[in-house]
Amino acid sequence: MPQITYREAIRHALAEELTRDPNVVVMGEEVAQFNGAYKVTDGLLATFGPTRIVDTPISEAGFIGLGVGASMLGIRPVMELMFWSFYSVAFDQILNNAANVRYMSGGQINCPIVIRGPANGGTNVGATHSHTPENVLANHPGVKVVVPATAYDAKGLLKSAIRDNDPVFFLENTILYGDKGEVPEAEYVIPLGKADVKRVGADLTIVTYGRCVIHSLKAAEVLEKDHGISVEVVDLRTIRPLDFDTVLASVKKTNRVLIVEEQKPFASVGTQLAYMIQREAFDHLDGPIHRLATIDAPAIYSPPVETEQLPNPARVIKAVLAAMA
């Protein structure tokens, strides 16, 4: 199987869907002529032309709202936010209009928009550029939220997202863009709402998603080797819809849970998971549910300190050892 980067995997998904469906349009700042701020859309303008690959002014509220409106008439806009951090400028369009229009119209109107872009810390760009809004987004019934960790998942999930009839928010990671993974040449899709057990283990379940999957897998290796602890890593892949069955099966097997997330702790994705795990699997737990999150403060700029603010393999190892104690 060819090895391609996470960035290329997303690009291939876009290209395949642009080819398959003439209603798919890619829009955002610097996506066309500049080939993408992070080069995800590199070459798409040359292949699909300026009607399908559209550069916008720096007007997120305007162009995201325009995408919501166009989707109501059957366009399938895939909007790029240069950073998900800029979603706050378009909050009303995303969370009032996209999330509610179907409900408020009594089911008459669909909003098949995809909004994608990176949402992560760890690149020393400061508090304004390091938001991880998956919990905020997923708090709104009517929307779907996807956070892929690998090239394979990114491609298969983005294709499903574009074909989905509901608004799908797709959160990528600038640090993962260059990571390579095996991706088959033949077409495939991954349904939204299916978690993936990325590592099988017996002693403790890490429930995680996004870049924290990578941290957790690294930590799991060390834990196995140095501490003889067998960790199972469950990658949610999709936050909403949530594949809780896979989480539950794993917890019932290992009886210990650590949630790892690049989120501020208060009312995070992990908070919801912890509630559900204790409700559905209380009698299967050998100890309290543990959680490792970002240290609760705005993102610090200072490069070596930001690494410590975020989950990282060393912090995961520490958290697992604490959960096993």
Binding site: I58, P265, I300, Y301, S302, P304
Partner: protein, 371 residues
């Protein structure tokens, strides 16, 4: 108002060495020789500071790590704008800008040591290593940032003007933005509020022709400053390569704000030689020739140098000395930054709440932080 021929036309024809009208504008004619030299010195200090920061960005520290992380948006080529505008500041005048903020920070009088240390993410930085390049602040210098979200600072600048008016202070706020920022909704809402409520703010559009890789023609309909007309605001436009010209126009607009409490918009044509940021130096959207044109014919420091030499205010020897001092200052800022310690993980949760930083005076109850 139509776009008038720029002062650069004179430079092209070789007459740049003659003092233009702008040097004769009352606000400039009144400048003493030391004050003229100071304008020049500030521009060159900004240039050398940024060149030094660029070298630090591209280099590695002793332990092989990066000196500077994230983004570094250089102001090189635009120095006359911040220096011209900020040189007009009185004690009740305030400044706010976007992420391309090194020039403004130095122009309002911030010390370059903590500025460089901030880029290095050190605890001795002006924001204790918490903000980085895009988030410089110095309230003691009436400088309110340093803002990372395009256009987000413009309502804040309008708020500074509101506060001045409310407190009965005769001053003005200068709210700087790029040519791409005019397309943010927040800018338009701020325009309307400022005009409706007669607020003393000057909206300054630093038009360097591009927002990242997008030219003005590909991002904006109509002349940028003219949008002010829709909000019943006056507007002006000038060339930003000549610090005298910037001062001549800004003086009028600041006076309008201070004396009549009326907002206005100014569009200042300028140019950046470097990529949008150092991490993103892609120059596919413009030609090398275009960059060289500006560098050779419209460089604000060269323009100013020629004028000062012609005015007899500067000698070449003195100019060389000023340059050497600026380089030495940048070097010692880098040494200071390099030698300073990083914040520790314990610093992460400081400066979040006033109350958690002042536990003795805390009034609220309950938990502020979570893990």
């Amino acid at each position: 108002m139509s776009k008038k021929p720029s002062a650069i036309a004179d430079i092209k024809s070789g007459s740049a060495v003659k003092a233009t009208d702008y040097a004769l504008a009352p606000i400039n004619a009144a400048l003493s020789s030391p004050q003229r030299i100071e304008l020049y010195r500030t521009m060159i200090r900004i240039r050398r500071f940024e060149e030094r920061s660029l070298r630090a960005y591209q280099g590695k520290n002793v332990s092989g790590g990066t000196n500077i992380g994230g983004f570094l948006h250089l102001y090189i080529g635009q120095e006359a704008v911040a220096v011209g505008c900020c040189s007009l500041m009185g004690k009740n005048d305030h400044v706010i800008t976007a992420y391309r903020d090194h020039g403004h920070a130095i122009a309002v009088g911030m010390d370059t040591k903590p500025l460089m240390a901030e880029l290095y993410g050190k605890i001795t930085g002006c924001s204790k290593g918490k903000g980085g390049s895009m988030h410089y602040f110095a309230p003691d210098k009436n400088f309110w940032g340093g803002h990372g979200i395009v256009g987000g600072q413009i309502p804040l600048g309008t708020g500074l003007a509101y506060a001045l008016k409310y407190q009965g202070k005769k001053g003005a706020a200068m709210a700087f933005m790029g040519d791409g920022a005019v397309n943010q909704g927040a800018v338009h809402e701020a325009y309307n509020l400022a005009s409706l409520w007669n607020l003393p703010v000057v909206f300054v559009i630093e038009n360097n022709g591009y927002s990242m890789g997008t030219s003005q023609a590909r991002s904006s309909a109509g002349q940028l400053a003219k949008r002010a007309e829709g909000y019943n605001m006056t507007w002006g436009q000038c060339d930003g390569h000549d610090v005298y010209e910037v001062r001549a126009l800004m003086d009028k607009h600041l006076t309008l704000a201070r004396e009549q409490s009326r907002p206005s918009t100014v569009e200042i044509d300028t140019y950046r030689y470097r990529g949008h940021s150092v991490a993103d130096p892609d120059n596919t959207y413009r030609t090398k020739t275009e960059i060289e044109e500006y560098r050779n014919k419209k460089d604000p420091i060269q323009v100013s140098l020629h004028k000062l030499l012609a005015e007899g205010v500067l000698t070449e020897a003195l100019a060389d000395k000023i340059d050497a001092e600026a380089r030495a200052e940048a070097e010692s800022a880098a040494e200071f930054a390099d030698a300073s310690p990083y914040p520790t993980p314990d610093d992460i949760q400081k400066d979040v709440y006033w109350e958690s930083d002042h536990p003795a005076e805390r009034k609220s109850e309950g938990r502020l932080f979570f893990d």
